[in-house]
């Protein structure tokens, strides 16, 4: 047993978790994420219910074009991620890399457009910071709308950044042939995360951009 005192503490035969169990861990994390965004959605519902008119009016100041195109981009990226996972399952390395790169590009365009949109809004002084100027009625409450808008989309964008970073790492790994048909769990997990981010946007888009358009 003396040799067992080796400085590495690797224990023998640690159980390999099957893929389902590892995904379960991810799902539990996503349940947690639902609650993380959830509080913001709850705040949104309560304030919109209290000030429906103001929210509708404020929503009209957002750029529905960019919002719509971005939704399309994000949905497409969800497809490419799904296809990437599919490629990984089939062991098609090149295809995997291609789909991931496509996803990253789509994500970057999304963020670029989002940045453009933010800069427009900053110029119109719609950012609810110290220079907030709102042309419509009830600037104070409209400000609440914009606070929610910027927090929710900002948090969403941060999540996208995290996803993109993960995908970049996975591309590198795949490049180095570290991802195989037997071991593609990282792709699967990153994919789950990305789809979750997509789902958040699926709700954000109509709630933020599409009220009061009639």
């Amino acid at each position: 047993m003396a040799e067992a005192r080796a400085p590495t503490l690797d224990r023998p035969e640690l159980p390999e978790l099957d893929q389902e169990s590892i995904s379960l861990g991810m799902w539990i994390f996503l349940a947690s994420e639902v609650m993380f965004f959830g509080a913001l959605f709850a705040a949104y519902i309560i304030y919109r219910n209290a000030y429906p008119q103001v929210f509708a009016e404020a929503s009209r100041h957002l750029n529905v074009w960019i919002g719509g195109v971005n939704t399309g981009l994000l949905l497409t990226s969800s497809l490419t991620v799904a296809l990437a996972v599919n490629a990984a399952q089939l062991g098609k390395r090149k295809l995997l890399i291609a789909f991931l790169l496509l996803t990253i590009v789509l994500g970057l365009i999304f963020l670029g457009l989002k940045g453009l949109e933010y800069s427009q809004e900053f110029e119109e002084n719609l950012f609810p910071g110290r220079n907030f100027i709102y042309p419509g009625p009830e600037p104070e409450k409209a400000r609440l709308f914009f606070s929610l808008y910027f927090t929710m989309t900002g948090l969403h964008a941060l999540h996208m950044l995290a996803g993109l970073l993960t995908f970049s790492i996975i591309v590198l790994l795949a490049w180095r042939k570290k991802i195989t048909q037997e071991n593609y769990i990282s792709v699967e997990l990153a994919g789950l995360f990305w789809h979750f981010v997509d789902i958040v946007w699926i709700f954000l888009f109509p709630l933020l951009y599409l009220i009061g358009r009639t």
């Binding site: 000030y51 008119q53 103001v54 009625p137 104070e140 409450k141």
Partner: protein, 320 residues
């Protein structure tokens, strides 16, 4: 001279109910704590390791027993819950006729204004035996108006009105505490409620430099701020008449109806676009930043008086 008062004085109509409820809960709790204690000691002695005792066939589980105590407790809980909740709703429902006093909390003092305009800081004079209603708001952070002798408290929240009503049953001076943490001198945001007999109270009111009553002050503001330029019959602008509005149901452009209470009027003044009266244009300007919380309370008092609401003066008429 250590004297250890351990029970607070009861000085409001509600206090006796709260204390009775407390007694009830203490009784229930004592029973349960004692049952647990006695059983622990008894079993502990009887079945102490090394002692011979009948340990044969120890019961492992019994759905019957479990369900029995679950349902027993549900019944007990429903009883206690109902008792407490009924008292609570009585605490919340003020009688029709009250003496209204407006309260503004700020770091770190209490400001009061009586219907006739008398102002006080950190001291509040009220008559014994009359229901008093406080309409409270805060100018900065959340505070809480707490009078232990009355067994009452309610938070005082910026941007909103909260209420508290009580009927004192004893004359004397009672503690007023701020119970919600509000910053450095939270512990010094304290004061006194001085309960007087009605005659002394009237004298006290008379002796105060009251000057302008809430309603009068409100009326002056109403002209000063230009409300009257719209809300007066014959004004060039079409705006709803405010006479008879208070307490009525107002139909809004959105189709909803709301009851015109203090909060509604406050909102109409600060955020006029939010609830538009049906049939009118949303042209009323916001007065946010132009009126203080105290002034809003005066405006409300005035608008109430237009509805012939006994409101602010009501309590007083009674005293005479």
């Amino acid at each position: 001279m250590v004297d250890l008062p351990i029970f607070p004085i009861e000085a409001s109509t509600i206090a006796i109910h709260v204390d009775l409820l407390l007694t009830g809960l203490v009784a229930i709790s004592t029973v349960f704590t004692l049952i647990v204690l006695v059983l622990m000691v008894y079993f502990g002695l009887k079945y102490r390791r090394g002692k011979t005792a009948d340990r044969s066939n120890p019961p492992l589980t019994s759905t019957k027993i479990e369900l029995a105590w679950i349902f027993g407790l549900i019944l007990l809980s429903v009883g206690a819950y109902t008792w407490a909740t009924v008292i609570f709703f009585n605490m919340n429902r003020p009688p029709e006729e009250t003496i209204d006093i407006s309260v503004v909390g700020l770091q770190w003092m209490w400001k009061f204004q009586h219907a006739d305009g008398q102002r006080e800081i950190n001291e509040l004079h009220v008559p014994v035996g009359y229901p008093v209603r406080l309409v409270m708001t805060s100018q900065d952070v959340i505070h809480s108006f707490f009078v232990p002798a009355f067994r009452l408290k309610n938070d005082v929240i910026p941007g909103r009105y909260t209420e508290l009503w009580f009927e004192a049953t004893k004359t004397g001076e009672f503690h007023l505490f701020c119970a919600e943490y509000c910053g450095t001198n939270h512990a010094e945001m304290i004061g006194k409620i001085i309960v007087m007999d009605p005659r002394a109270y009237q004298e006290w009111l008379g002796g105060q430099p009251g000057g302008v009553s809430m309603v009068q002050a409100g009326e002056e503001l109403f002209t000063e701020l230009g409300c009257s330029s719209c809300h007066v019959a014959g004004a060039g602008v079409r705006a709803p008449t405010l006479a008879g509005m208070f307490g009525s149901e107002v139909r809004l452009a959105s189709g909803e109806t709301v009851v015109a209470d203090e909060a509604y009027i406050r909102e109409s003044i600060l955020f006029p676009q939010e609830k538009i009266v049906t049939g009118y244009d949303p042209i009323m300007p916001s007065y946010q930043g132009r009126v203080s919380e105290e002034q809003i309370m005066q405006l409300i008092a005035y608008i109430r008086s237009l509805s012939g609401e006994t409101g602010p003066e009501g309590g007083e008429d009674e005293n005479q």
